[in-house]
Structures are given as C-alpha cells and as structure tokens.
C-alpha cells in the first residue's frame, strides 16, 4: 500500500442549517485519479474545497505528506501543492489572460521603474497555456474576449502551472466542449503518470467511470463506499449514490415522435449578429424539441430570442395565436417560461427565499383580483410547488443560496411550471444536477408533454437530447444543419457529424 499524499480525518462541517460533512475520512494516494460522486449536497465539493483551502472544517485534521495541513486560503494551498479548479468561473474579466494567471505574483516580472515586464509575463503565460495543450490563446488577450469555455481552460492552466501534487477538478467539464474536455483528461492522465493525484468531481457517471481509477461515493455528508476500477458498475454506483434502487425509466421509454397539431410558437427567419442566420423553426404543442450543437452554434441566444429577452436583428417570433413576442413581458403574458443556462445569475435571486423565487412568476395565479397579495394564498401556491417537485429544503423561507444545485434547479422549474407555462424554453436544464434530480426532471418533461405543453430543450448533452426529444434540431455556426425525428436508431456519431 502506498502512503497517501493527503489524509483527511474526522472532517466535520456545517453551513447555517445544514450538516454538509459529518465525520468524513478520505485519503488521496499518489498516481491516482479519484472520482468523487454523489448527489447535490452530498458533500463532495465541500470535502475537496476544505482540502484546497477554500474553507475551513469545523473539526477534524488533515495531514499532507504526514504533516499537519491547514491552508489559510486557496492561494496558500496551491503554493503548498493542492490546487483546485472551481465549478463557477474564478477569473477577472477586465484584465489580460496573463494578468489573470499571475494575479498577485506579477513581481516576478520586474520591469524598469517598478513596472511590470509584460512581455516576459505574456511569454510565460503562453508557455503555460501551450504546456496543457491550449494553442489558440495568448497571454496578452483580454480575458473578456474569451468565451466561457476558454476562460475555464485558462483557469486550468493557471492552477496547473504551479505544478500541484493534488489537482481538484470540481464539476469543470460541464462548462467544456468535447475538445476542452479532452485537454483536461489528457492533463489529468499526465499528472497521474507523474505520480501526482487528481480529485475529480462530476455528475456524469459515464465520464467518471471512463476517466477515474478509483471512485468514492458520498451521500448526505458521509462516505458510502469506495470503488476500485475493477468494481465499477453503473447500477451499483447509482444505488450507493441515491441509497435506493432507481424506480422507473430514466429517459422516455417510447421511440415514436408525437405532437399535437396546434402550433405553440414559431421562429420566422430569425437572424442575430453572427450567432444566428435565418433560422426558422415551428414548435408544436405536446412536443419536446431538442436543440443541440457545440456551445457556440447559436442555440443559447436562440433560447433568449424565443423568450423575447433578445431582439433579433431580423425575423420574428410569433405564437400560434399570432402574437409577436417582443419582450419578456409579452412572453410571460403568453405563458412562456425560460430556464437559463446560467442558473445562479439569470434564473434565481440567490439572496431571496425559495418562496420569493417561486412566487414571483406566478403572482397572477394567486393574487386576489390580480392585485392584492395575500400571504396565505401565496404559501399554498409555493408549498404546492415544493411538494410537487420534492424540493429538499428546511422550509419555504430558506434562502435558495443554501440549496444544492439540483434543488435550486427544481426551484426554477417550480417557478415556471407553477404558473402553468405553455411553452417552456429550457437551456441546459440538467446542468450541474445529479442523476436523481435529472431523472425526476425527465419524467416531469414527459408529463408536461402529455399535458400538451411545448418544451424546447437546448442542451449540450447528447444522451438527454436523444433520450427526450420528439425532434432533434442540430445547429452549427448559427444555422440549422440537420433535423432528426425521434427514433431508436439514432446514433450519436451520426448526430455529431452535423455539429462539427
């Protein structure tokens, strides 16, 4: 048995009203990629962020190479040898890529009169970027000019250039395309082969089984089981994650496309900047339309245009009854709902309670004469959504910031479904959500379809697009490249051809 690089013993951590970790032991060994998996709120991010100095445990001890490990901050942890790439972007937009990478350390590039030798800094940044296989970004590029994925890659380069002994990758791949993921996988393997360790946190079971050597399952702040590579079995892992057998189907069980005849909403010759070019799609009631493609194919702006949040340069969005959608307010009036990809910024008010977030969209549903707001009626309305969607929370007045990702997403769903949205535009609806919640959402979507709602699912995940859509529209460079009907014979290699 090798000696562990990091030993975590009896780690305990509580947040406000939640026990995030209760007495957890975890060892990290050299030369391994260890997966951490569990439902939202299971404690996997908490344990790794404690190791990486992002927060402190309430009690317990950590040994790093046999010595007490008490990093005061992420920077301290990184210089000590444990680096972490966080779930949400941790870069600063206003400055260059190199400045981001050497934030707080620019003194190592002294220029004349106390200035910074930018040339040297940019060169060093370029080297670090190339070292992990990022070719098309230079240190001098302004951070703001980069897209989300590239920013993430810069962040990875920033951490890796410190040559950490343990690299923590928290839910990073959801932000990355296939190409970006490959860069990260290669990097993780290289570190492992160099005798270092990687802690890899992901919701994607397939991915984790593919990439990891060992796997630790957490549930409700406790470690449930460790798996070695030869023990990997999707069903067993899922069962230990949820603590029970999964009931019912994951995706839809039928393979026949179906929809009602009425048109729900129509995109007519919509163009918008370079993102969309002359796109026309008709969405029908009782239909789930999947829209897929690479991150920049234009499908995300398309979602916003459908909801009236972006005015297209030309073309229009018209409902089945002929109303033009020109603003969010009109879309709301026409019973549209929009779940954004950027949940914490665009779909939720984090400082507000579950109640506020759900109630805000459905006020006309329970206000007396569409005017007077009564707390009693509001509570009934909100509690129904909490119950229907089984939102795990202390009570309706709990702040949504205290909820796990999956439960936050359920709140967003509750906000739109509660008001009876007829057209639901879902942009990456299962991003960062664990499989238990995912399954519940897929079942809900199937349910809504039956009720005749029109569901537009924009997603970067091939399996859910194939598993749920009646019709799958593939986009590339702002245009529709292919439309597939629902079928058991669809293959992802066939679909991907139209994306790239």
């Amino acid at each position: 048995m090798k000696t562990p690089i990091l030993e975590m013993k009896h780690i305990r951590k509580t947040f406000a009203s939640t026990v995030a970790l209760g007495d957890v032991d975890l060892n990290v060994y050299p030369g391994e990629i260890r997966g951490l998996i569990g439902e939202n709120g299971s404690g996997k991010s908490t344990i790794s962020s404690i190791a990486a100095g992002m927060q402190k445990a309430d009690s317990g001890e950590m040994l790093y190479h046999g010595k007490t490990w008490t990093p005061g901050s992420m920077i301290e942890a990184l210089s000590g040898g444990i680096g972490m790439i966080v779930q949400e972007s941790g870069t600063i937009q206003g400055v260059s890529v190199a400045e981001n990478m050497f934030l707080g350390e620019t003194k190592q590039f002294p220029g004349p009169f106390g200035s910074i030798d930018r040339k040297a800094m940019n060169t060093k940044a370029d080297e670090a970027l190339r070292a992990i296989g990022i070719q098309n970004v230079s240190g001098a590029t302004p951070m703001a000019a980069l897209d989300f994925q590239t920013r993430k890659l810069v962040e990875i380069a920033k951490v890796v250039m410190k040559d950490p002994e343990i690299l923590v990758v928290d839910e990073t791949t959801t932000a990355l395309s296939q190409e970006g993921r490959q860069i990260l996988y290669d990097l993780m393997k290289r570190l492992r082969d160099e005798g270092k360790a990687v802690l890899f946190i992901s919701h994607d079971l397939e991915e984790i089984m593919e990439v990891c050597d060992t796997l630790t399952v957490l549930r409700d702040g406790a470690i449930i089981r460790h798996f070695t590579k030869d023990e990997f079995d999707a069903d067993q892992i899922r069962t230990s994650m949820i603590g029970r057998e999964l009931q019912g189907d994951y995706y839809r069980s039928d393979f026949t496309p179906s929809h009602w005849n009425e048109v729900a909403v129509e995109l007519r010759n919509v163009s918008f900047g370079e993102a969309l070019e002359d796109v026309s799609i008709t969405f029908r009631k009782g239909e789930i339309v999947g829209i897929g493609g690479l991150s920049h194919c234009g499908m995300h702006p398309l979602g916003k245009i459908l909801f009236g949040a972006i005015r297209p340069d030309s073309g229009e969005v018209v409902t089945g009854s002929g109303v033009r959608i020109t603003s969010e307010t009109v879309a709301m009036r026409e019973n549209f709902g929009y779940v954004s990809k950027d949940r914490d910024v665009e779909s939720l008010s984090l400082t507000a309670s579950i109640r506020d977030n759900i109630a805000i969209a459905g006020m006309e549903r329970y206000a007396v004469n569409n005017f007077l707001m009564l707390s009693s009626r509001e509570k009934v309305y909100v509690d129904k959504q909490i119950a229907d969607l089984s939102i795990k929370c202390a009570d309706r007045d709990q702040s949504v910031s205290q909820l796990s990702g999956g439960n936050k997403q359920k709140v967003v769903f509750g906000k739109w479904i509660g008001r009876g949205s007829e057209v639901l535009i879902l942009d990456c609806p299962t991003r960062g959500v664990d499989i238990g919640v995912k399954r519940a959402m897929y079942q809900l979507m199937a349910e809504l379809k039956k009720e005749g709602k029109s569901i537009i699912m924009i997603s970067e995940e091939m399996p859910e697009l194939m598993g749920m859509s009646d019709r799958l529209i593939i986009m590339k460079d702002g245009r529709i490249t292919k439309e597939f009907e629902r079928s058991a014979d669809l293959s992802d290699t066939e679909i991907i051809k139209y994306m790239i």
Binding site: T14, F15, A16, S17, T18, V19, A20, G22, N40, G41, S45, T46, S49, M54, Q55, Q87, E171, F307, A309, S327, E328, T329, A331, M332, R333, Y338, S340, V345, E346, S347, L348, S349, L350, T351, A352, S353, D356, A359, I360, A361, M363, A367, N370, F371, L372, M373, L374, A394, S399, S401, Q402, L403, S404, G405, K415, G432
Partner: protein, 329 residues
C-alpha cells in the same frame, strides 16, 4: 435529529436578529425616558421634540425605502426636500393660496424624483449618477432663489400663522400613519412591492421573469417623491421658513435610518418597509440620549463619534443575517 436541532437553532437566531431593530428602538426609548426623568427634565416635552425631529426623517425615509429596495440610491432627497419647500414658499408668497402651495410642493417633489429616474432610463446610466447631478442642481437653484429673495434675512418664509394650526401631534401622526400604511400596503400586499424586492435582489433574473426594470424604478421614485413632498410640507409646518441649509442632513440620515432599521443597504428581498420608521426614530432617540448623557463641554463631535460606532455595530449585527454562509455550490 441533529439536522433538526441545528435548523431550529438557526431559525431562532434569524428571528432574533430580525427583531433586533425593534428591540433596539424599545431599549433606546426606555433609556431616553429614564435619562430625562432622572435629570428632572420634562419628559412630555422631550418626547414631543423627538417626534418632531423624527417625523420628517421617517416620512422621507419610508418613501425612500422603495428606492433602496431596488438596490439603488438617491442622494438628492435632501436637496429635493429643500427645493420643493422653496418653490412652495415662493408660490404662496406669489399667490397667497395654501392649496396651490401644497400642490406645488408635491408636484415639484414627484417631478424631481421622476426626472432622476427618467433621465437614468433614457441615458442608460445608473440612477444614482443622475441623483448626484440632481442634488447639485436642486440645491444650487434653491440657494439662488433663497438668497436672492431672502436678502438680509437669509431665508424665505410663509407667514407662521398660516400652517401653525397644523403644528400639532395629531396632524403629524395622522400624516405619518396614513402615508406609512399606504407604503406598507403597496410594499407588502401588491405586486409592485414584491416585484421591486425581487428586482433589488437580482435585476437580471427579474428582467428574465418579465419584470420591467424601468417601470418599477419609476414607481419607486414616485413613491419616494411623495415622501419628499410630505417631508417638505411637514418641514414648513414645523418651521415656516426655508434657508439654504434646510433639510441638509436628511440625505445622509435616510441611509442611517434604513440601516438602523435592519434593512440591508443593498436592498433586495430582505428590504422592510418598517425599517425607515423604526430606524429613523431609533437614530433620533440615540442622538438625543447621547446629547443628554455626554456633557457638551467635553467637546463637539463626541456624540457623533459614539453614534458612528453604534452605526457600525448595527451594520455588523444586521449583516450577520444576510452575509449568509453559502454552500460551495
């Protein structure tokens, strides 16, 4: 089991922190009464003075809560109180009509407020910026009018007998109560208040929930304008004159009042309409207690320093509530 215990403890703490501003008001009230009594001063008179000192602040700040809820900020409220009172006095002196004077005061107050918010939405700049400009412009114009017309007296005034009959507790309490109840209703029982709180919490999300940002900003500024109009009128009721320094401290005191009332200065879902009332009177009580307790011979500014320390303590304690600990996801 353990989870439940933690949750109970947490909720209890939240509740206590929520009640702190009220507890502070009650405590300050008691301390003032004891201090005044023990010094042998007239408590009835003191309470009346304090009510008079606090009522204008409470009214203007209650209106301002709508703006602060949006996470916005209006630094021009003191200046527009001065400006509307000035134009009100000028109107009375020109026409001799009290109703016209009141009309002008409210019209000007709401107009100034509207102008700030409309300019902000037309030019797409933060409304805070337009209020800074408004503050300079309004106080400059008011000062110009007052000094040109006030001459050697240094101020302009209406005949003191004109509004003297209104300078009594009953009238002022009625004004405060009616205005406060209207604000309370709008804030907590209509879609307007709910949408404003949500908007303050996250404007991007609010927009994507069909809430028209400009519309609710304008409504907020109109409510604040009405508060300013009432404040200006009550100022004239208390002292029938206007000088260039009238209502000069209101702008800052509003912020203090709102914070003392336990509302986060960043607005959002934790905004409370009673913050201005509770905080306004707490602040005035505190100041009076300090002036009574601290001998003025110790030196000027001592009571301000103590009150500033108190302010920071309040910010810290109320901050405990919304500086929430967050799970890392």
């Amino acid at each position: 089991m353990e989870q439940e215990a933690i949750l109970r403890k947490y909720k209890l703490r939240q509740r206590l922190i929520d009640l702190l501003p009220l507890a502070a008001l009650a405590a300050l009230f008691a301390i003032l009464c004891i201090t005044v009594q023990s010094k042998g001063y007239r408590l009835d008179m003191y309470l009346k003075i304090i009510f008079n000192e606090g009522v204008v602040l409470a009214v203007v700040a209650t209106g301002a809560v709508f703006i602060y809820t949006l996470g916005s900020f209006d630094i021009s409220l003191g200046a527009s109180t001065l400006f509307s009172a000035t134009l009100g006095v000028m109107t009375y002196n020109a026409t001799g009509s009290l109703p016209l004077m009141i009309l002008v005061i409210f019209g000007v107050a709401v107009g100034c407020s509207l102008l700030s918010s409309v300019l902000a939405s037309v030019f797409h700049i933060p409304v805070f910026v337009t209020t800074v400009a408004m503050m300079s412009v309004l106080s400059a114009i008011a000062a110009q009018i007052i000094t040109t017309n006030g001459g050697a007296v240094g101020g302009i005034s209406i005949p003191s007998a004109l509004v003297k009959p209104l300078d009594n507790m009953g009238f002022k309490i009625a004004v405060l109560a009616i205005f406060w109840l209207i604000c309370f209703f709008v804030f907590d029982f209509t879609k307007i208040g709910r949408k404003q709180k949500f908007l303050g919490g996250n404007p991007v999300c609010a927009q994507l929930t069909g809430i028209q940002v400009n519309k609710y900003a304008i409504i907020a500024f109109v409510m604040a304008g009405i508060g300013v109009g009432l404040g200006a009128f009550l100022t004239l009721v208390y002292t029938p004159s206007v000088t260039a320094t009238t209502a000069g401290s209101i702008g800052m005191n509003i912020i203090v009042a709102i914070v003392f009332g336990g509302m986060p200065i960043s607005g959002g879902p934790r905004s409370r309409i009673y913050s201005a009332l509770v905080g306004g009177f707490s602040y005035i009580l505190l100041n009076n207690i300090l002036k009574l307790v601290i001998d003025s011979n110790i030196g000027y500014g001592v009571s301000q320093i103590v009150s500033a320390v108190f302010f920071l303590a309040v910010v810290y304690v109320t901050g405990l509530n919304y500086r929430s600990q967050m799970l890392p996801r």
